[in-house]
């Protein structure tokens, strides 16, 4: 058994295509062929990273057969099913390219779109996201919830991306590798990075109806998205100053408290109005809440000081912009040697 953790050995490749697979035994080979077909005309050295997300069928065996013939296909097998975001995170952790492309493993994305993504990155964007403009999914269970979610994410984060859920995305490796990916955060990658100053482009992509099997990654439930969104907002946009964020949250309850307490103090001294225990008690309660939130913010400051994911990645990105440094791109991608892929089937 190989060492399971740790960063992969660096290989000399320019582009890594990452696809999570979960019970996709029929699709693996087709997916592999279509990606290779789409990339063979590009003068790029590339690798494929397939992540088997604890499939219960023969997905891993199929992928292994392909990998035996192609040293530039890396297959990562999970011990059990962890979900799409961890699978993507693993692929990103173990990819060596300077440019990373993530896509679905179920053939719903079209690898022929990949060159457009590369073009956009060459134009100087840090992240390029796909927009499935003619989405081939069920309207009520998938399209409508996703439209609401996208609208909401756009509103809260201020990054109006039409399709956060599209897996087909391209990243500059140094941008995405610095972003903590966990839970179901892949939906929020553009928002997170854009808050950090990344330049984002959105392009239309083809979307195919599912050929094999069932939809595995369930529909986006609004409730989860809502809470995740609140978490993202807290974590990213107020990360550097949590005390401020919590103080803002505390203001309404402090105001309610002051109002109620003032009125009951008034009742205490004036003869016309009676002192009311419920009103005074409510005032005290909201006062306590305000204090709680304020202290919670102070606690967050402490957590930030001791934690290790400080918002440095934010500054490293913006610094690049401030300096007006040209991102590595266009020229050196194209003057690369022809693909070193071994025997192509």
């Amino acid at each position: 058994m190989e060492a399971p953790s740790g960063v992969s050995d660096q290989r000399a490749v320019d582009l890594s295509v990452i696809a999570p697979l979960y019970n996709e035994e029929e699709s693996v080979e087709l997916l592999y062929k279509s990606i290779v077909d789409a990339l063979k005309d590009l003068k790029l050295r590339y690798e494929l990273v397939f992540v088997d997300d604890g499939s219960s069928d023969r997905t891993f065996i199929r992928a292994q057969e392909l990998a035996d013939r192609d040293p530039y296909l890396r297959v990562i097998k999970f011990r059990k099913n962890y979900g799409q975001t961890p699978a993507m995170a693993a692929g990103i952790d173990h990819a060596s390219g300077r440019l990373l492309i993530t896509m679905d493993g179920d053939l719903q994305n079209d690898p022929r779109d990949i060159p457009h993504f590369i073009d956009k990155i060459e134009e100087g964007f840090d992240i390029v996201v796909g927009w499935r403009f003619n989405r081939q999914d069920k309207l009520v269970t998938r399209k409508i919830p996703s439209r609401i979610a996208n609208w909401l994410i756009g509103k809260v984060t201020g990054v109006p991306i039409k399709d956060n859920g599209c897996s087909l995305k391209a990243f500059r490796a140094e941008v995405i590798k610095n972003i903590p990916l966990y839970s179901e955060m892949h939906r929020f990658i553009p928002a997170m990075t854009s808050l950090a100053g990344a330049r984002i482009a959105e392009i239309k992509v083809r979307h195919h109806a599912r050929q094999f099997g069932m939809s595995k990654y369930g529909l986006s439930r609004i409730y989860k998205v809502l809470l995740d969104l609140l978490a993202i907002k807290t974590v990213v946009s107020f990360a550097s100053k949590p005390l401020l964020w919590f103080s803002i949250l505390a203001i309404p309850s402090a105001l309610v408290s002051i109002g109620l307490l003032a009125s009951s103090v008034n009742g205490l001294f004036s003869s016309s109005e009676a002192f009311s225990v419920p009103i005074a008690g409510t005032g005290v309660l909201f006062g306590a809440l305000a204090i709680f939130l304020f202290l919670g913010g102070a606690l967050c400051e402490l957590i930030y000081k001791t934690g290790d994911t400080k918002p440095q990645w934010l500054s490293s990105l913006t610094a690049q912009q401030v300096l007006g440094k040209e991102p590595r791109g266009a020229e050196d991608i194209h003057e690369i040697q022809p693909p070193e892929l071994a025997d192509q089937p």
């Binding site: 966990y182 179901e184 809470l227």
Partner: protein
């Protein structure tokens, strides 16, 4: 090398122990039958002068056993961890310092390790009063309800596991009982095997009420660890928003009554109750946000996935 150790047997000794000598010989017979080269490690959790004396005597008689004594009592989870750290075998076997499982069953447990990562024993058929059976059912039923895993005998300390399991799963507090739950959460295959109960296995004394509370809190901790470690806001947010919304609806109702029906607010304790709910809900949400921040700041060291194999 022909004399490398294949199996490390770890015996944590806590408050409860049976006659050291006879237990040692019984275990030894059982392990010998497995045909593996093994080492035996006793971990004394704190000061156990009687046990210590007997073990030293055994050592002097030429019995090969490693003896580790902890400076004070840290609990079984830590004793096990120390044992794991000092073990050199590829396979590990934990045995309690008292009779639970018939020692002749040991080889069966170890050979089952070929097919999975961890083997835990289920004493069956099992003796015990009706109340004990009921208590066990409640414990495992509650665990199943909260975490969705179903085991039947987590109280049994006879477990065989691969080294990697012990390396990856960190234990603290009272979590040794839940080692199988934590291991399967990390993607290891855990198997429960029916084994014969030792005729000398009997429980002395009753649990104090405090113990029950501890077990319940343990289950809650495991539940939280298993389900929500990565998304605290999902958990706190659910409870918090329900509480706050319930309170908010009552407040709204009272305010409407005040404005349109003229019922005075000032004399209604319901106002106090409902605003208490709102405050509580917001506090719970606030805790969730703090939790989320903790996860975010540690996201890089907390890998969410476990890789079994990498090709190329």
């Amino acid at each position: 090398m022909s004399n490398t150790i294949e199996l490390s047997v770890i015996v944590p000794v806590g408050e409860r122990y049976d006659d050291v000598r006879s237990l040692y010989h019984d275990y030894k017979r059982g392990i010998d039958a497995s045909g593996l080269r093994y080492e035996l490690i006793y971990v004394l959790d704190g000061d156990r002068p009687e046990v210590f004396k007997e073990l030293v005597e055994l050592q002097q008689q030429g019995e090969k056993l490693k003896l580790i004594k902890l400076a004070k009592s840290f609990g079984e989870a830590i004793a096990l961890t120390v044992g794991f750290d000092n073990a050199s075998g590829e396979f590990l076997l934990t045995l309690p310092a008292y009779y639970q499982v018939d020692p002749t069953e040991i080889p069966k447990l170890i050979s089952e390790l070929q097919n999975c990562d961890m083997v835990i024993s289920h004493r069956w058929p099992r003796t015990g009063s009706g109340f004990e059976v009921f208590r066990r059912r409640v414990f495992h039923g509650t665990l199943k309800l909260f975490t969705g895993v179903s085991y039947r005998d987590l109280g049994c300390g006879v477990r065989a596991l691969k080294r990697q399991v012990a390396q990856e799963v960190t234990l603290y507090g009272d979590q040794h009982r839940f080692l199988p739950v934590l291991a399967s959460r990390r993607g290891f295959k855990v198997k429960e095997l029916d084994v014969a109960q030792s005729p000398k296995d009997y429980f002395r004394g009753a649990y104090r009420p405090r113990e029950y509370l501890h077990r319940l809190l343990d289950i809650f901790t495991i539940f939280f660890l298993v389900r929500f470690t990565k998304k605290p806001l999902r958990f706190f947010g659910m409870i918090g928003s329900l509480t706050a919304v319930a309170g908010g609806i009552v407040v709204l109702y009272l305010v409407i009554q005040r404005l349109f029906l003229g019922m005075p607010l000032a004399e209604r304790p319901a106002l106090l109750l409902s605003s208490l709910l709102v405050v509580l809900g917001v506090q719970i949400l606030g805790l969730g946000l703090i939790g989320e921040l903790i996860i975010f700041t540690h996201a890089r060291e907390l890998k969410e996935y476990n890789v079994e194999k990498i090709i190329n």
